[in-house]
Symmetry: C2
Subunit: 500 residues, 2 copies
């Protein structure tokens, strides 16, 4: 028997010397996805063991703002209180656009129809929402308020195909970091349901039979190797791979241009590799959320982004992650945000956005930036000409944000990719059914294996469509589906398998 276990290679069940632990459902990873999976599985009566490599719970979910993208079915309490009704079909259409060319219609449909009920479930677990609405454009509330515009709902082209509604819901929590509050609520519920929680427990490999049906995990626990049987199945909720820069370079090399990954050391791709080791397909591994969090202040949305050729490339009123996606499509690292005296306000310090040039004329700014003669000037002239009429025929920026940049002094903010803050995390991962079952490249379910959260490729799977709250929406909702599916599953008895 080999003692060199690797996530890329399952331990064959014939090699298991005996079970050190037995349970119905094993959940790998105690972030939001794992917590929700454990809650549903335990709530359905399954014996659940939760294995977490770190010494405490939370994972990357606890580092986040805790914002969740919710709506549909007429609207959440926060949406209705703010005067919005949110129809399921509008949420469906928005999420289909947000998923890009390979949006997962089955998952989008299930989520759109059940998002309101999911909100109520979260509240029932102890997540508290103040249900107040902040109409300004911001990253997330710094107060304990709830609802914000957290995507590109009001921006072209989304606004043309889905009636806009704010859908970012943040728990009642003062300041950023509501993810810790979200995790505290979910973790308390996990404990209350009697889930066996094992910290400092790193899963080294899956245990599978010759048909790649999964029966448990090999886990390092208290300094020794344990063979842990999962009678019903294993649920992988072990995060993405953004902290594994070797994997990032091979699968999403454009992310190497930024030094600001968002994650914990656990986001090392292990969950994805475990799934692939038994034939699970990984998809859209090149896709990521990558943002330039340039607002608030929202006045900056009235500026004009240009690349190093002086060309505009995006309607500046769309979500900052979509701006970041399009910045990465530009050739060259130099990106500027042009503003005039009426629109300029200093960006947040943490963005590392600084002033690159200022002048009394756009010609002067263009010269100072060293841009090709006439490039910036002709871009601004064209923008101003149409903005004066309240139009943006190139990128269809909303009228509310259109103002000619004609009040000197003029300024160009330096948003260069190799210096400014471009936080990012990965969106590619294991392909799963809405039930949480991991599937092969031919979309055949792998027996005994489930996954959720950023170990999977879920609702968010295209950088150009990401919206704040989508990753936690996906992790919590499809974590629940996986937990529920695994609780219902009946695995073959390993003795049968061992007998051939």
């Amino acid at each position: 028997m080999s003692l060199n276990f690797s996530p890329s290679q399952p331990c064959r069940i014939q090699q298991v010397p005996g079970w050190d632990l037995e349970t119905d459902v094993t959940v790998v990873g105690f972030g939001a996805a794992g917590a929700c999976a454990a809650i549903e599985a335990a709530g359905a009566g399954a014996a659940v063991t939760l294995l977490e490599a770190a010494s405490g719970n939370g994972g990357t979910s606890a580092l986040s703002g805790g914002e969740i993208y919710l709506g549909g079915s007429g609207g959440t309490p926060a949406q209705r209180q703010a005067g919005f009704s949110d129809e399921t079909e509008d949420l469906f259409r928005y999420l289909m656009m947000a998923g890009g060319a390979d949006a997962d219609e089955a998952k989008v449909r299930r989520y759109a129809e059940n998002s309101l009920a999911h909100h109520d479930w979260l509240v029932a677990q102890g997540v508290v929402y103040k249900n107040t609405f902040l109409p300004e454009r911001m990253l997330e509330p710094v107060t304990d308020d709830c609802l914000i515009w957290s995507g590109s709902e009001e921006a072209w082209p989304f606004v043309e195909r889905a009636r806009p509604c704010p859908r970012g819901h943040t728990p009642q929590w003062d300041g950023w970091g509501g993810g810790r509050m979200l995790m505290d609520a979910l973790a308390a519920r996990v404990e209350q349901l009697g889930v066996e929680i094992r910290y400092d427990s790193r899963v080294l490999a899956l245990i599978a039979d010759d048909a790649n049906h999964v029966h448990g995990v090999v886990v390092r626990m208290d300094g020794r190797i344990c063979f842990a049987r999962a009678r019903n199945g294993v649920i992988l909720c072990a995060g993405g791979f953004v902290m594994n820069r070797d994997m990032v370079r091979r699968h999403a090399p454009h992310l190497m241009r930024s030094g600001d990954p968002i994650g914990t050391p656990g986001d090392d791709g292990t969950g994805i590799l475990l799934g692939m080791s038994v034939g699970g397909a990984s998809i859209h591994m090149d896709q990521a959320f990558l943002s330039l969090p340039f607002y608030a202040p929202e006045s900056l949305l009235k500026g004009v982004f240009i690349n190093e050729r002086g060309q505009r490339f995006i309607n500046e009123d769309c979500y900052h992650g979509r701006v970041g996606y399009h910045i990465m499509q530009q050739t060259g690292d130099r990106i500027f945000l042009l503003l005039d005296n009426a629109t300029y306000q200093p960006p947040a310090e943490f963005t590392r956005i600084q002033i690159a040039a200022a002048g009394e004329t756009w010609e002067e700014v263009e010269r100072d930036l060293g841009l090709p003669e006439g490039a910036l000037v002709s871009t601004v002239a064209l923008y101003n000409r149409h903005a004066a009429d309240g139009n943006d025929p190139l990128f269809h920026k909303g009228a509310r944000w259109l103002k000619p940049l004609d009040e000197p002094p003029f300024v160009a903010l330096d948003c260069r990719v190799d210096y400014a803050m471009y936080p990012h995390f990965t969106l590619g991962g294991l392909d799963t059914l809405p039930s949480g079952e991991v599937v092969t490249e031919k979309r055949q379910p792998i027996g005994g294996l489930y996954a959720a959260g950023r170990t999977t490729c879920g609702l968010p799977r295209w950088g150009g469509g990401y919206s704040s709250g989508l990753s936690l929406a996906d992790a919590t909702f499809f974590g629940r589906q996986a937990g529920s599916s695994a609780a219902k599953a009946r695995n073959r008895h390993p003795a049968d398998v061992m007998a051939g």
Copy 2:
């Protein structure tokens, strides 16, 4: 024992009822990569069996122009005859740029240093080159000439970092389709070396032990399932996945915008799935060669490409595949090539590029195209102003191709993505070492498994850097490395494995 074999799941060696065939090296796929692998393995004394799913040899290689990207070490006979000396370091730097952000330095180094010797090897196998040079820009020779500029060597930014040299070598063959001649030469050599060739033989699954070491294949042959042992190893040379549109949608969804895949039905991803079934990593699955083959006539390089916002996006003198890559980065399907009376010539009919608008002024053309007022006009004005001075400060197009577009009538060619011809094939696949060994995500070799050609991710791995001849250069050269490595390998005896 299951009779439902799947490429995504290896058959365990314990399940093999007995060997129907035994050989040293099994090569899967009889295109250029498989032929070269078989030649080297057989030449080194190994017993080789070549399994081909189709009824004849050639694969996608035989459909191609047969062009191979060759140079370095002072130059090939064709290069030297045309007055070029091609230094190894220039070839190395060009290929590193062509590989993009995750260029495989080890493979590039090995290829750059051995490319000239590889040329000589090809000639020794019976591939005939006329060694004549055609200086005009073209897709590939329609005559029986040899050497052309087949990449972006003379174009920015490549020209700034590697001394340009033409490197596309086409066999002596009248008209397009030299790939058939190339394959005929290689196939004759395969037969001469006594390789056992089995047509109509589809590999259904790999045979592996519990450590994922590969010992053979399950193959459907003459209507029955056979278990074929490969004592030294299996070499996967089964093409890419461009004809498997489900895989394309999940891994490279932008390709779905074009209806012009290049391949045979065999390019269904089976080779990649087989490798992944034993833990092989697949990388850069989103990358592809996707081209707008808009030249010849080369006069069209003097035009200006714009997107549907009237913006330029590329130096038009770079390789047509790089143009295609940047077209796909633009938002929207509408792409135009602007020309004036002095530069216009009709594009080739097969490109499906038609005239979208013509007029006596650029304002008229802009209006006819329905573009935002001033958008096209300001782009052309800026281009013309600098072109008159012999400059292109935006995209650094070569002076030879710079001419103000100022002689009416003016014309806009319609290159829309959803109508014009955008031929494409996939570049993502199994990660391999220069030796041809397939590796896991952590780059550990998988015992007994090798791969080459478009089943792997090789020298060409970034659409923005593709050059004609790179895929065949990679397939033939690294096919040879895989064959040579497998011939030297000594596998464990399956009986030992079965005994545990």
